[in-house]
Structures are given as C-alpha cells and as structure tokens.
C-alpha cells in the first residue's frame, strides 16, 4: 500500500536532456507551463504536443511511459471536465435536458482545461524523469539563492528535501517491519470497513512516528559532529555549470513560445 508511492521518479540516462543543467531545466519547465497556459485553441495544442514529443524523443524516454503517468490522474481529469462542462455559462446551447444545459463555450472550456492539465503533468514529468533528485534539489537551492537576501531559507529547504528523500526508503522499510511485528501479535490491517481500517493504522503509525523522531535526533547529532553549521560558506562537491546544451534547450523553448504567440495572434 505504501510501497506504491513513487516520489521523485527518475529515469537514469545520458541523453542531452539528462545532461542539461538542472537550473535551466527548472526555468524552462516554468516557461513551458506559461506557454501551455497561453494556448487558446486546438492548433495551439497540436504545437505544444509536437514540442513535447520532440523533447521526449531527445530524452530517450518512451512516450508511452509518459502517457501512462497520467493514468493516476484520470479521476481529477474527469472531475474537472464534468465540472467545467456543466457549470460554465455560455451562449450557444448544444444540449438542454431539463435543468442540465451544455453550451459550446462550456464544452470548449472543459476540453481545454483537461488538455492543459495533461500537458502540465507530462511536461513536468519530463523534468523529474530526467533529473536525479540530488541534482533537482541542487538546482532548486541555487535558483532560490538570491532570495536568501530576503531571509528566504533556500539552503534549509534543499537540505530538508535531501534528507526526506534519503529517509523515504528507510522509513518504508521500517513501516514494513512494524506492520509485520503488529501482525504477528494479531493486528488486522486488511479487513473491516474504512473506519476500522483507519483505526488499525494507529498501532502502525505511533511507533513509526516515535522512531522517526529518534532518527531525527540521531541525525542532528551526526550532522553536528560532521561540522554542519548551515548553508553559509558551504561548498558543494558538484558545481553546476551551464553548457552548450542549456543554450540549445533555451533556444528550442524560446522558439516554442514564439510559435505559440504567433499562432495565437493569427488564429485567435
């Protein structure tokens, strides 16, 4: 049940997209998101699809794998689609059944909204699939660094993310162990209704929390013993460097945005 969590999924590889600087990838992903939001008609989505397809091909990830990533989102997609379909006001009535009224504008809105979500998820998955968690947190830390002047805890956030990623497998393993230990004493996690099953989680969660706090305490001491004193004057093993690849990525994304804007002007 807990083992299904696939946080920070990373698809190891050595493609140009993989080798790009994580900072550039983060920025370009944001630019891409803005681009997707600027699209206002179907040809525009075709352009976005073409761009995404190109990026995915270069990254060496199978497009099918990416599409499969949307599957867990199907309920949200259907929900937003239906909500938009029924509750957006419009002029041209397509269908009228009693109090249910579906208008052309509502249908358009619903389709675009769903498409937008799909494109957002697929685009950001390319980022997480091609960037290892370490490089991602590294990139985030360095991007947020200028904000430190305004007392924004950039280093602390990145450190927290690293530690969280480090301890996910450890805590999953521990959960499994506690679960088995409780089952050996007759705990029942499988049967009963939702409330009964939620209650059965208590003997699992309490020891887990206790141990997580103990681990945090130990880790704090170990970090202190290794001269940890916050982010000031800290160097890193891996320095981030922009390369030619980042320039290509930047140009490609700029071209995408330009085409989207032009297309919007011409057809919009």
């Amino acid at each position: 049940m807990l083992n299904d969590i696939t946080l920070g999924q990373y698809f190891p590889g050595n493609s140009p997209i993989h080798r790009m600087d994580p900072r550039m990838k983060l920025i370009l992903t944001i630019v891409y998101i803005v681009g997707v939001f600027m699209v206002s008609n179907l040809p525009g989505y075709a352009i976005a699809l073409a761009f995404l397809y190109l990026v995915v091909r270069v990254s060496g990830i199978s497009f099918k794998y990416l599409v499969k990533g949307i599957k867990p989102l199907r309920f949200i997609l259907i929900f937003t689609f239906v909500l938009n379909l029924f509750f957006v006001e419009g002029e041209t009535v397509l269908l009228s059944l009693g109090f249910v009224r579906i208008t052309k504008e509502a249908l358009e809105n619903a389709v675009f909204f769903a498409l937008r979500l799909v494109f957002l998820v697929m685009g950001t998955s390319v980022l997480t699939l091609t960037t290892s968690p370490i490089r991602l947190t590294d990139g985030l830390e360095r991007l947020m660094k200028p904000l430190q002047r305004f007392h924004f805890p950039a280093h602390e956030l990145a450190m927290m993310m690293t530690i969280a990623l480090r301890f996910i497998p450890t805590l999953l393993e521990e959960t499994d162990k506690i679960k088995k230990a409780q089952m050996a004493r007759g705990a029942d996690f499988e049967s009963g209704n939702l409330i009964a099953r939620a209650k059965a989680m208590i003997p699992l969660l309490v020891p887990l929390f206790v141990s997580a706090f103990r681990r945090a305490n130990d880790l704090a001491m170990a970090m202190e013993a290794r001269c940890y004193r916050g982010g000031d004057h800290r160097t890193r093993l891996r320095e981030l460097k922009y390369t030619r690849l980042d320039l290509y990525g930047l140009l490609a994304t700029a071209a995408f945005i330009a085409v989207i804007i032009a297309e919007g002007k011409l057809l919009g």
Binding site: E173, E224, A225, R226, R236, L237
Partner: protein, 283 residues
C-alpha cells in the same frame, strides 16, 4: 605546546551532568589518548561511556574539568568546528548518520560544511572511499548497502576530514558478526597504517582485547584501566562490574579453576592454542 605532538586527547578531571539530571553522568575522569594509540572504553549500559565519547568532540561541553583535543579546549566555542575535524565520530545506528542519497555525496558532507574546494573534495572522497574499500559503491544509494558497508561509509566520511582521532561510539553494536569484523578490520588498518588514534566505545570484549589500552567505566567513574591483559586477568573484578571477559580468558579461568596450570592472561584464540600446545608438550 610540544606535548601536542604526542597527546591527541587529554581529559583532566572531567565531569558532566545532563541538563535535568541530579547526578553526574561522568564523574572526575582523567584520560589520555596518545598519537596512534588504540583506546577501548568499556562499561555496562548507563555507565557513562557514551557520554564520555561525546565530550571528546565537543558535542557536550564538560560541567567541570577540561578536554583538550589536539591542544584545543572544547569549552571554547570558536574552536568547536576545528575540534570536530580533528576528532571524527562514528555513531551506533548506521542508518541515522548518513545524510545524502548517494554514497560519495555523503562522504563529501563534512568537507562541504568546512568549505573545502570542489576539486579538493573530489580528491579526498576518492582517497577516503579507497581507504575503507568502498570505491565501487561511490554512486550507490546508501539504503541498499549492508550495515557493515554503511558504517564503512560513515568512517570514510570522517576520514575525508583527515582527523587525528576517530571515535566509534558503539559503532558495531547493530551489526552482524561479519559486518562487525569488516568495521574492526578497517579501523585497525587505519590505526596501523595512517597512525590515526582510535577510541572505541564497546561492550564486545573481543574488540576491547585488541586495543592498546582499556578503560572500564562504572557509574560515571573509571573503575579499571590498563592494558587489556592487565584488566581482563582480573576476571572477578570485571565480572563484578557487569561485564564479561573475552571468551578465551573465560576459558582459561575455568581451566585454572579445575587445577590446570594454564596462564591466566590468555586473550585471543591464537594465544590459547599456543598455551595448550605448550602444556601438552610438557606432559
């Protein structure tokens, strides 16, 4: 100070009480660890041995008395990070002391904290990983390693800081026998080849028997001290302190009780074999 060349850690009349405790966890302890020395600190649970270890690298500051690490007083706040670089510490739980998600990043952690240049970090972590035979695992995720391997990574993390003393606070307690052996072999090799002083806190008598010097703690005080041979031959006294003696010393003791004229100061299996051969050749 000339004496710093010889003494790595000097503790003088050291006492420490935990913030809300009404009695001292460590009481009037004086110890010295020389360059290249291998010191074992023994004691049952709650005897103050772990507290003592934490006083050695400024994680705790003494309530009374003084600790000098390589001539640096641990009470001086400005020296804390220098001290921790001189006296590296490896803890008990292998999972709870690894910070990063990749082995080499974790080894680099201490160096990054001290602001070492990236090129220099690279060099030092490669050296440190080679020294603990973990070079092949540099890019692995720590949670996929065995306990013994994780502890070796932790040792590499300390080693990369080029310490003068390594303190192992029950670092083998959670390992299986082969993992324990791995860690002890690594530590002994570093002690022998690099001249790094070692302080191990342990309750495995076998580990203590290989040390140069042994301290037995009881109730925060030093109850016994001396070479392993001097300490463990006092079988009755060691037992009274709630500890075992090394298995071979125990065997020798039982044989002596049965009237066999074996030496009392047998510590290792090899010595026992020699002793038995000596006895059988005589009869």
């Amino acid at each position: 100070m000339a004496s710093n060349d010889v003494n790595r850690i000097v503790a003088s009349h050291l006492s420490y009480a935990y913030p809300e405790a009404d009695r001292n966890a460590v009481e009037d302890v004086s110890v010295r660890v020389k360059k290249g020395e291998f010191l074992a600190i023994l004691g049952h649970n709650g005897s103050g041995k772990s507290t003592l270890a934490k006083l050695f690298n400024a994680l705790y500051v003494p309530s009374a008395g003084t600790v000098w690490v390589c001539g640096l007083d641990t009470k001086d706040d400005a020296l804390v990070f220098d001290i921790r670089q001189h006296a590296g510490m490896v803890f008990q739980n292998p999972d709870n002391q690894i910070v990063a998600t990749v082995v080499e990043e974790d080894v680099a952690f201490g160096l990054e904290n001290n602001g070492v240049e990236p090129a220099q970090i690279r060099l030092r972590i490669d050296e440190a990983l080679a020294a603990v035979n973990m070079s092949d695992f540099a890019l692995k995720a720590p949670h996929l390693l065995s306990g013994g391997q994780k502890q070796r990574v932790a040792i590499a993390g300390v080693l990369a800081m080029k310490p003068d003393v390594i303190i192992l606070d029950e670092s083998t307690a959670m390992l299986d026998p082969s993992g324990r052996q791995e860690v002890m072999n690594t530590v002994h090799r570093l002690n022998r080849e690099e001249g790094i002083s070692v302080v191990i806190i342990t309750h495995y008598m076998g580990e203590a028997a290989t040390a140069d010097y042994v301290i037995v703690m009881d109730d925060g005080r030093v109850a016994m001290s001396g070479t392993p041979r001097e300490v463990f031959t006092q079988v009755a006294k060691v037992r009274a302190l709630g500890l075992d003696v090394p298995p071979m010393t125990d065997l020798a003791d039982m044989l002596r009780a049965d009237g066999i004229g074996i030496r009392a100061d047998v510590l290792t299996v090899d010595e026992m074999v020699e002793e038995v051969c000596r006895l059988s050749s005589r009869s």
